[in-house]
Symmetry: C2
Subunit: 393 residues, 2 copies
C-alpha cells in the first residue's frame, strides 16, 4: 500500500502533512442548550462541533476543519467497517482555577495514538499539530465543560481507515476526527467498590497480539463475556492470561494491587507492559506518584511519609491474589483509567468462589484515595506537577 508520491493539486511533491495552521473553523448557526450536569450519561451527549481531517494517498492530509457536529458519510466497502483499522484515544479537559480548560499529559495520548495508527498501518501524522487542533476544539467547546467538581469534557480523537475497496490490504486513506462529550464522575453518590469476575476462557490480549495498543478492535471481543459476567452478578471482567492465570486488565482499565509487607510498607504491583497490557496514562501517572511519595517529592494524602510504596511492574497470578487474601495482606486492589481515574475493587469471583477485599469508609482504600486525590488535583490545576497539566489557550 505504497503512498503515491506525486504532484498534488497545489503543486507539492509529497502528500501534505497535517498542518494546524491551515485550520478552518465553521461554527454552528445555532448552539444546543446545555444539559443539566446531573443528567449526563458517559459519552452520550454530543456537543456543537467536531474536528475532522481526511487523508488521501496522493494529496495527503486535507485542510483541518472544526465544523458543526454531524455524521460521517462513507462508502459501505470502507475498511473501517470491513477490516477495522480504527484507533482512538480517551482524554479529558478540566476547568482550571482560572476558568481555562486544561488537558492532562496530552502529548502522551498523542504518542500512543500515533503508535496505534502505525500498528494497523494507518497513515502517520504530526502529533504536535493534532494536539494544537484538539486544544482549539476544546477552546471552541469550552462552554460544554461543566464547572462542578468531578465533571469534565471527555475528548475522543479517532482515526479510521476509509479505503473503499474489499481487498484485504492496509487502508491507504483515513479520516481523523475528534468529538467531545461532557461527562460527570464515574461514581454518582460517592465511590463504591466494584465486583469483578475473573475470566480466563476468553482472552482480551495475548503475546504477539494488539492488547498493548489502543485499537477499537480490542474492545468488541469483550462485549459477550461482559454480558455473561453481568448475568452472574459481576460488574466488570478481570481478564486473565496464560496457564498460570496472570491478571492483565479490569474491564477497560489497568489494575493495581497493594500488599501489606511485614515491615508495614506496601508492595504496589501492576502487570508489566509486555505487549498484552494497555500502556495507560493513569497507570503511568500512578507509578510516578508512588515513586514521588518514596523520594519525598510529594506525599500522597492519607499515606504516612514514612510508609514506603514498593512499586513494581511484574506479573501477578490469581494464585498469588488468593494467597495474599487468605493471609490478610491484600489490602487494596483498584482499576485506573481516564474515565474512572481510580475505581476500588470489592470482590473478585474466581473458580466459583468470591475473594472479598477489605472495605473502606471512603470506598477507596488509603493508597487508592491518595492517588485519586493527587491525580484529580493535578488534573484541575489545583496542584502543579511538572508539566502534567496543559492549558488550552
Amino acid at each position: 500500500m505504497a503512498v503515491t508520491q506525486t504532484q498534488n493539486t497545489n503543486g507539492e511533491a509529497h502528500p501534505a502533512e497535517l498542518n494546524a495552521s491551515k485550520l478552518v473553523i465553521n461554527l454552528a448557526n445555532e448552539l444546543k442548550p446545555l444539559p443539566a450536569p446531573e443528567s449526563l450519561a458517559f459519552g452520550e451527549t454530543k456537543t456543537d462541533h467536531m474536528l475532522i481531517v481526511n487523508y488521501d494517498p496522493v494529496t495527503g492530509w486535507s485542510t483541518p476543519e472544526i465544523k458543526p457536529y454531524g455524521p460521517l458519510i462513507l462508502d459501505p466497502a470502507s475498511s473501517c467497517f470491513q477490516y477495522c483499522p480504527n484507533v482512538f484515544e480517551g482524554m479529558k479537559a478540566y476547568a482550571g482555577p482560572d476558568g481555562k480548560p486544561r488537558l492532562f499529559r496530552p502529548q502522551k495520548n498523542m504518542e500512543r495514538l500515533t503508535r496505534s495508527a502505525e500498528r494497523v498501518a494507518l497513515p502517520p501524522f504530526d502529533t504536535n499539530e493534532l494536539l494544537k487542533l484538539i486544544q482549539r476544539l476544546v477552546a471552541v467547546e469550552s462552554r460544554w465543560i461543566p464547572s462542578q467538581p468531578g465533571y469534565s469534557l471527555y475528548i475522543r480523537p479517532t482515526v479510521i481507515g476509509t479505503r473503499a475497496a474489499l481487498g484485504v490490504a492496509a487502508s491507504d486513506s483515513a479520516c481523523l476526527y475528534v468529538i467531545v462529550s461532557p461527562t460527570g464522575p464515574y461514581f454518582r453518590g460517592g465511590t463504591r467498590p466494584i465486583s469483578l469476575l475473573a475470566v480466563g476462557e476468553h482472552a482480551r490480549s495475548w503475546p504477539g497480539g494488539t492488547g498493548g495498543h489502543k485499537l477499537g478492535l480490542n474492545y468488541a471481543p469483550g462485549f459477550m463475556p461482559q454480558r455473561l459476567a453481568a448475568k452472574l452478578g459481576y460488574e466488570q471482567i478481570l481478564w486473565l492470561l496464560g496457564d498460570d492465570k496472570k491478571i492483565t486488565e479490569v474491564g477497560a482499565m489497568n489494575v493495581f494491587v497493594a500488599i501489606k509487607r511485614d515491615d508495614g510498607d506496601l508492595d504496589v504491583l501492576t502487570p508489566p507492559l509486555d505487549g498484552t497490557i494497555l500502556p495507560g496514562l493513569t497507570r503511568a501517572s500512578c507509578i510516578a506518584l508512588t515513586e514521588a511519595h518514596n523520594t519525598g517529592r510529594l506525599v500522597l494524602p492519607g499515606i504516612s511519609p514514612s510508609q514506603k510504596l514498593h512499586t513494581a511492574e511484574c506479573p501477578v497470578t490469581m494464585a498469588e491474589i488468593v494467597a495474599w487474601s487468605e493471609q490478610g495482606r491484600l489490602v487494596e486492589a483498584f482499576g485506573v483509567g481516564t474515565a474512572v481515574v481510580v475505581a476500588p475493587i470489592g470482590r473478585i469471583g474466581f473458580e466459583g468462589k468470591d475473594i472479598i477485599l477489605p472495605i473502606y469508609e471512603a470506598g477507596l482504600g488509603p493508597l487508592g484515595k491518595g492517588l485519586w486525590e493527587t491525580l484529580t488535583a493535578i488534573q484541575v490545576g489545583k496542584l502543579e506537577y511538572d508539566d502534567w497539566s496543559v492549558k488550552c489557550e
Copy 2:
C-alpha cells in the same frame, strides 16, 4: 445492553424480526456501464444496488430495502468506528449453465455470520430471511455476473454496530447491508505458486480469542506484518502459533499440506477448528471431497481412484514441515478460500531459510488441481453435488 421489549409504533409487543417478504426495491434511475472483465480488480467495482436493513432495540429490524448503491451516514460516535463489533461474509454468485446465478452452500455462510454476530453481541436475525434477500439482490444485479470462466459476482454481507454513544458496551443498534462486486480469477494468466513468510512474533489468533469467527477485527492486525513480509519479498504470511510453531492460516486463507506415504497414499492435513482457525467453507468442502474420493462417490480428476487421501484435521508444526520437506515427502501445500478457491504454495521463508515445494506445470499439484477443478465445476453448476449449488430465482 438488554433489548427493550416494549410496544413499538406498530403496536407490536416485540422488536420486529428480519422479514424478507417486506422487501422494498427502489431501482436506480440510471445503470452504470459494465466494465471490461479483464479490468476488474478484486472488490473495487461497485454495482448499481445494495441491500440494507437497520436494527433498533425498540422497533427491531426495519423494512429491508434494495436501493441504489450509496454511502452509509453514521454518527461519529458509532460503535462500528470506536469498538469494531463488525462482522462479514464472503460469498460468490456464479453464472450457471442455464444463465441463472448460483450460490455455493450459502446457508453455511449464513450460519457462520449469525455465530459471528453473536460473538460480538450484535442483535440476532433469521438467516433464512437474509438468504432470501441476498438471492433477490443477486437476481437484481445479475447483469453484473461476468459470463467468462473463472469470473463471478463477489457478495459481501456485512453487519456493523451503530450504537451512537462512547460507553464501552455492546451495540444495541446495527446496520446489516450487502454489497456485491464483479470479480475475475485470483490468478490472471494462470495459477502460479505463492511465497509465504512464516511469522510467529505476531499472532493472528489465540486460544480464547476470536480467530474462529469471521470478524472484521481479525484482519487489521495483519496489515503491518503483511507489509513487513512484502518488503522481504514474500506475498503472504503463514501465521504460526505457540512455542511449537503450529501453522494456522495463510494470509486470509485456510491451509492444507499433502504428505506422501510409503504406500503411495497421501496424508492430507489441515489445522483443527480449535477456536484459532476460521471454519472456512472451502476448507470444509475440500475435506468432504477428499472423503468422497476415498469412498468412490466421486473421483478427483488427476488422482487415481486407488490412491487414498488420508485427511485429518490435526496440528501441523513447522518442525514437521521442515522434516517432510527434507525427506521429499511434502508434495503439496495450498491455501483455500472463497476468493482464491485453491492457491498453491511454492516457497515458505522460515528462520532465515526458504523451504521450497515441488513445482508443477499447472501451478497446482495433482491434489490441489483436482480439488480446484471439482469445486469450480460444482460452483458453476457443471457438476451437481448434494445441494451445494443453489440457484437465485
